[in-house]
């Protein structure tokens, strides 16, 4: 460990100075208690052991007939910042009503077509490996989600976010902001041109690194389908070490966040292509014929 590491910051999340939710232990009790001595620095080995134990417990539960989990656990202590931020009561089942069965409408007033290209937002070419990320947004019944908003944000090729609180000492790229938007086509398709993001360190524990990822924010045809998630790249060696990726304890479910290299999307002499399809939850509403045909919003592509 380097000598100048400030140990106190290693119980804080991310690269911020905010220690408000740093807790001495995973118990979640007495969060305001000040430990008598400096807390022991948590290592990747500590975290990996916790992640492994939770994964093994899930495997045993599956064997005993528990249903497969398809979403991240809200309560996943290896991601330390979740300890005080997850509901402890079960989510309350509700039948969606009225407004929840519809979604905000987005269109070409909201998003310009050029916002889908993150490599042309400045005067020069950004550093790094140019990539195309494309796929379709579908609902749980396999219907294309047409005319809806997709937003992405990401680190640059050296693993640095332009966000002011990112203090990772990797270079900012004056030609890369890392924010894009698009409106899905009539077939639910989206397509971004960007730069492959770098992995970056964070302060969940000592030597914590996030696998390279792109944040995705998606709307469906109903507000109940709203999700924010992260897309990862195939074969990343950091997957087993990452508490955020591993908060999805089911391997099949985790795999759904990993894009596929797709040579048909790759453009000669230009950019490598990755395919990633996104499935939202199923529709709860009775669809009209026009909606079923994909005539939502002003999808005049």
């Amino acid at each position: 460990m380097p000598d100048d590491v400030n140990l106190a910051t290693y119980n804080a999340d991310a690269l911020t100075e905010d220690l408000s939710d740093a807790v001495p232990a995973a118990s979640g009790t007495a969060p305001q208690a000040v430990p008598a001595e400096a807390p022991r620095v948590e290592t990747q080995q500590d975290l990996s052991a916790e992640i492994k134990a939770l994964g093994e417990a899930y495997a045993r539960a599956l064997k005993d007939g528990a249903p497969k989990e398809t979403q991240p656990r809200l309560d996943f202590a290896p991601y330390r910042s979740s300890i005080l931020r997850h509901p402890t009561k079960s989510l309350h089942h509700a039948d969606p009503e009225t407004i929840e069965l519809h979604s905000p409408a987005f269109g070409h007033q909201d998003v310009h077509a050029l916002e889908a290209d993150l490599t042309i937002q400045h005067n020069g070419e950004p550093q790094g490996e140019r990539i195309i990320v494309a796929g379709r947004v579908l609902d749980g019944d396999g219907r294309p989600v047409a005319g809806q908003l997709v937003e992405i944000w990401q680190a640059n090729s050296s693993g640095r976010y332009i966000h002011k609180r990112d203090q990772h000492p990797a270079p900012l790229d004056p030609n890369f902001t890392g924010v894009g938007r698009c409106i899905t086509g009539p077939d639910g398709s989206y397509r971004f041109t960007t730069i492959k993001p770098g992995a970056y360190p964070w302060k969940n524990h000592l030597n914590a690194w996030r696998p390279a990822h792109i944040h995705f924010s998606l709307f469906g045809t109903e507000f109940t389908q709203r999700i924010v998630t992260q897309m990862y790249f195939p074969g990343d060696q950091l997957f087993p070490l990452d508490p955020i990726y591993q908060s999805i304890v089911d391997q099949d479910a985790r795999d759904r966040l990993v894009a596929t290299y797709d040579h048909d999307l790759t453009e000669p002499e230009w950019a490598l292509g990755y395919n990633w399809d996104i499935v939202l939850t199923g529709s709860k509403r009775t669809w009209t014929e026009n909606e079923a045909l994909g005539a939502e919003g002003d999808d005049h592509e």
Binding site: A14, T16, D18, S20, D21, P67, E69, T70, Q71, P72, L74, Y79, S81, S82, I83, L84, R85, H86, P87, T88, K89, S90, L91, H92, A94, D95, E97, T98, I99, E100, H102, P104, A105, Q109, D110, V111, G142, W153, A155, I162, K164, R165, D166, G178, H215, F223, T224, R226, I227, V228, T229, Q230, I244, I248, R256, V279, L280, T281, G282, D298
Partner: protein, 193 residues
């Protein structure tokens, strides 16, 4: 039709601040315009501390209870009410929207605003609702509220301020934890495993 399994969510993380906010994101109509109200509150963690890195979205009918189907939430023209807004909290955990009191979408129904909550440290978005406090009769027969015990029910009802605004806090964890909703009914989104 074949049922597909939904893609998992992931935390919004700490760095959404340069990506998700946009100009007038929290102004569903211009502050001070006729009929406008303030909807404001604080997001708290399980220790009772304000969370400085949460972001909220609201989606609501207009004052007459109509579900608006107008584009222009991201680039507001200053006149079109779209029903959608987004507000990141500030350093003290406070979010603010300028909006209208939503009307009931059906005669006699309780009026509410649909809310999605995102935060660093929150693994997946949470859905909830904020109800207007006035129509006691409608609140009493609301299907969701009437399925909750009185203590929990209170967490979904805003307080009316003297100036006509609404105050509604969100508590992610603890004894007075806000009621969060599972629309899937599959148990796969449950907090307790």
């Amino acid at each position: 039709m074949s049922k597909l399994t939904a893609t998992p969510g992931q935390t919004v993380g700490p760095f959404y601040g340069y990506a998700l906010p946009y100009a007038k994101d929290r102004e569903l109509l211009a502050p001070g315009s006729p009929g406008s109200i303030r909807l404001q509150g604080t997001v708290y963690d399980g220790a009772g501390h304000p969370i400085p890195d949460a972001i909220l979205e609201i989606w609501q009918p207009d004052a007459d209870g109509n579900i608006v189907r107008r584009t222009g939430s991201l680039v507001r023209d200053g006149y079109t009410f779209t029903g959608f807004g987004r507000s990141a909290v500030g350093n003290t955990g406070v979010y603010t929207f300028t909006t209208v009191n939503p009307g009931p979408t059906e005669p006699g129904a309780a009026a509410f605003i649909s809310v999605a909550v995102f935060a660093r440290g929150l693994m997946n978005r949470l859905f909830t609702r904020v109800y207007l406090p006035e129509n006691e009769e409608a609140l009493a027969k609301d299907p969701l509220l009437s399925s909750l015990d009185p203590e929990r029910r209170k967490t979904l009802i805003a307080r009316r301020d003297a100036d006509g605004g609404l105050t509604w806090d969100i508590r992610l964890q603890g004894g007075d934890e806000t009621v969060f909703l599972d629309f899937e009914g599959t148990g796969t989104e449950g907090a307790s495993q």
